[in-house]
Symmetry: C2
Subunit: 120 residues, 2 copies
């Protein structure tokens, strides 16, 4: 475990924290990734492409695939192909995807706090 006091004075360390966080955020960026991840979290089981398509409201096939591929590349989801016809492909969260839980929870908390503070 590294020292995590990113409010420290060391400018070098600040650069490290900043770049680490930017990197982490890049994995979550894009219009659909969070929604996909939360759907996979909520389902608690592998989801087929078509199931995701149904659950992620408003997404189209190209976008869904694109984001899934990026999430796969980033180690957040696993793609499992069943060689049958018609095709069947299942997506699951990896361990690293599951490990995102606390961050997402913290973000959710902040979002709701903010909502209340802004009076919505």
């Amino acid at each position: 475990m590294t020292d995590r006091d990113w409010r420290c004075e060391d400018p070098e360390q600040q650069l490290v924290w900043a770049s680490a966080t930017s990197e982490a955020l890049r994995v979550l960026e894009g219009k659909w990734k969070i929604v996909i991840i939360i759907q996979l979290f909520a389902a608690k089981k592998p989801l087929r492409f078509s199931e995701l398509e149904r659950r992620v409201d408003g997404v189209n096939q190209k976008m869904l695939i694109q984001q899934l591929r990026q999430l796969e590349k980033d180690g957040i989801v696993t793609r499992m192909v069943y060689p049958q016809v018609p095709p069947k492909v299942e997506y699951t969260l990896t361990e690293m995807g599951i490990a995102l839980g606390p961050s997402l929870e913290a973000l959710i908390d902040w979002a709701f706090m903010r909502r209340e503070a802004l009076g919505h």
Copy 2:
């Protein structure tokens, strides 16, 4: 406090969590925002425009202002203008900006975990 178990089965709730998180992320998105926020956190004091320009490596004036204005609009930073010549403008984190702390920490933790897992 609302129920925060976003891994629940209720599809309606999932939509709420998903949209809340997307909203929160939108506030942090953009190439420079995280770096700006972390610099303000680390400084523990108001920073002038030119100080930020120096601390946020690689940013140009237009981008820095643009992102600062968005952060201001989103209630993350405060812009304080001193009416003097040459001009002096200071930027501070709002309460809501400071409240981002735990989320950022969780993201940093995850980012470092991921780094180790990927063997960097």
